[in-house]
Amino acid sequence: MNKMIKISAIAAAISVLPIAAYAQSEVVVWVAGEPGQANVYDHLASAYNEQNADVNVTIVKNSSDLFNPALIPALSAGEGPDLFSFGTGPGQPAALIAGGLVADLTDAYFANDWADVIPQGIVVQTSSDGKLWAFGNEVETTGMFYNKAVFAEHGISVPTTWAEMEAAVAKLQDAGFDTPIGLGAADKWPISHWQSMMFGRYAGPEGIENVLFGDGAWTDAPFVAASAKLQEMGQAGWFGPTPVAIGYGELMDRFWAGEIPMTLTGPWVINGGAEAAGDRIGDFSVFAVPPFEPGQKIHPTNSIGSGWYVRESSENKDAAIDFMNYMFASQEGRVTLLNAGTVPVGPLDAALSEAQMPPLAVDIWKASDDHAANGSVPAFLDTITPGSLTTVSYDGLQALLLNVMTPEDFTGEMQSAWAAAKEAGEIMLPGGIAER
């Protein structure tokens, strides 16, 4: 009988061995992104999994529209991804942090020397109460993508002044392009790229910061002037006869097909563009929109694309942090990101020496870097302000384009929503973490 028990015990132990040997930490990662944009994370996960037999990272991609509505209930239920990308700055994340749904990454920050990678300016936007809540991983910008072949065909040079810009648009209109600059305003958010850029140009970095973190108001003169200019461009047909009837997807299809010569967008379209345009991808390049007014400076738009958070209730926090560290802090991860056109935060020299960025990505960053000395402004105001303000802005921007709202009313509605959000404590104040 004893012998039988011993044999059974040994058999049981042997049967468990393979399980123990292959026990893996499962790290589920949720990434928001447009088609083609998030594919780089699949490559990173697969490379990481090959090097770490004890961890299995799975990437789940979702469109930007559906991402937050799926994420919030999952996190609230104590489930959802171990690691996920989400907005940063004074806005959306405050509720996640207050709800205790995301992990404190301060220890990881010091343990992995992230101070060498994440600039202080970004730490300020991803921390509060002395704690780091997110890894602000990538820098994004916007620029005027244009069709070089169309420009050349009609004898148009890259405009460097507003007068040249007006002349270029007029030439294109005369040549039969009813939409010289594509906007995709049916989706609302693409207009906010113009809004962010123009608010920044008219108010400058200080003016924007004064509203976000000080006592400035959206009704201040520069924001009214910027809104008026946007409306004026819309009324002059720069965005076509019916910009609010065209979705972003349709716009980009027409842009890559050569039907629309210009559109203001960011590096996230480059991978999809390479697929859509094929061999003609070399026909496209990027320039910085010239100053709207005499004496105005070009302020490049720079924002953290997103921040990466670890779920507080995750059983695999360490593995999630390690994968994050691999993606954004290791040389291999940073080179992979650059090769895909995604620019990680921090010093780039080491990664750039190995990387081969897509030419369009090089163009857009050059257009941005050329004016870096002027100081940058946020590229996406809608991601760093509360959702209630975003709704008002989106509707108001469409109203401006349809010419059914004045710039004063638009900025007035924005300010009302902003003041209400401030009063409700929905604004996250700038943070920073204490040295150790």
């Binding site: 937050n68 509505p69 919030i72 209930p73 996190l75 609230s76 959306q92 509720a95 996640l96 207050a98 709800g99 205790g100 749904l101 049916a186 989706d187 609302k188 076509g240 006869p241 019916t242 910009p243 609010v244 009837a245 065209i246 979705g247 349709e250 027409r254 509360p386 959702g387 209630s388 975003t390 709704t391 989106y394 509707d395 469409q398 109203a399 349809l402 059914v404």
Partner: protein, 295 residues
């Protein structure tokens, strides 16, 4: 061990046992979520914090002073009205015509019903493309010399709601047609014969025979269409997100914006409850009218 099937207890228990699986599913997936939404509507929950404070009727009071809610309320009624006219009115006419068609009836029937089984997101994508300024609808209008009617369907404040309602009707009218067709098959042919003998023309037969005979079926189609149209979300969200501005904002998209996008789940729930109340009241009123007419 087993009850005698003829026993009184078994006869009482059997219906309950048969109902139990469906009832359990209904309670878990319909009753409980509805109860939760009603409960949330009395709180200030942001959808994230584990705790939520009871705020009484505050969210409902806010509804009364929220001008966007009333815009969405008005749009929802226009939206439902258009869809009811198309799905019930046109659906009945199509079914009556189909009932008299023998050649290629199955083919026509299939064409009308096919969109019902297409996913709402696919329907939204199809119509979004067709409604583009350079889309197929405007191209066809230009080709047949009706270019004056070409319009930016989804970008025109005065047109967008009707354009989307039409697209929704296209994808749902088939269900009503099938129900009407089933109802028509049950109408006694002798009634039509008698009407013919009395000298009724086809239109009079339809008015005095078909319509009264289909009254119960019409009630079913009406209520189905009403509830379906009030809860529509996907086609509007995937095409215009309630825009341009708020010209296609309906209660369901407004509820989603406030609740899911702005993290005001308490207020969003109050909008949801108001939607539930409106549909319930409309259904009860219609049923009462039907019952009165039947008497």
């Amino acid at each position: 061990m087993f009850l005698d099937p003829d026993s009184k207890l078994a006869q009482r228990l059997n219906p309950v046992l048969f109902l139990l699986p469906a009832l359990t599913i209904y309670i878990v997936f319909a009753i409980y979520p509805t109860y939760s939404v009603v409960e949330y509507s009395f709180t200030d929950w942001d959808g994230i914090r584990p705790d939520r404070d009871f705020v009484g009727l505050e969210n409902y009071q806010r509804l009364f002073s929220d001008k966007i809610f009333w815009e969405a309320f008005r749009n929802t009624f226009v939206w439902s009205g258009v869809i009811i006219v198309i799905n019930v009115g046109l659906g009945l006419v199509i079914a009556a015509m189909l009932a008299r068609v023998w050649k290629a009836r199955l083919l026509i029937q299939t064409c009308i019903v096919l969109p019902v089984v297409i996913s709402p997101m696919a329907v939204a994508t199809i119509w979004r493309w067709m409604y583009q300024p350079t889309g197929v609808i405007n191209q066809v209008l230009e080709t047949i010399g009706l270019g004056a009617f070409a319009t930016p369907w989804l970008g025109s404040p005065n047109v967008v709601l009707y354009a989307l309602a039409f697209a929704h009707s296209w994808s749902t009218i088939g269900l009503g047609v099938i129900i009407f067709l089933a109802g028509l098959q049950a109408v006694d042919e002798d009634l039509y014969e008698a009407a013919r003998v009395d000298g009724a023309n086809p239109l009079q037969s339809f008015r005095y025979v078909t319509l009264p005979a289909l009254r119960p079926v019409t009630a079913v189609v009406f209520i189905l269409t009403l509830t379906q149209s009030f809860k529509v979300f996907d086609i509007v969200w995937a095409t215009t997100q309630g825009g341009p501005i708020r010209f296609s904002e309906i209660l369901s998209t407004y509820m989603y914006k406030r609740g899911a996008l702005e993290n005001q789940y308490g207020y969003g729930s109050a909008i949801g409850v108001s939607l539930l109340v409106i549909v319930s009241i409309a259904t009860i009123i219609y049923m009462q009218i039907q019952n009165k007419e039947d008497r």
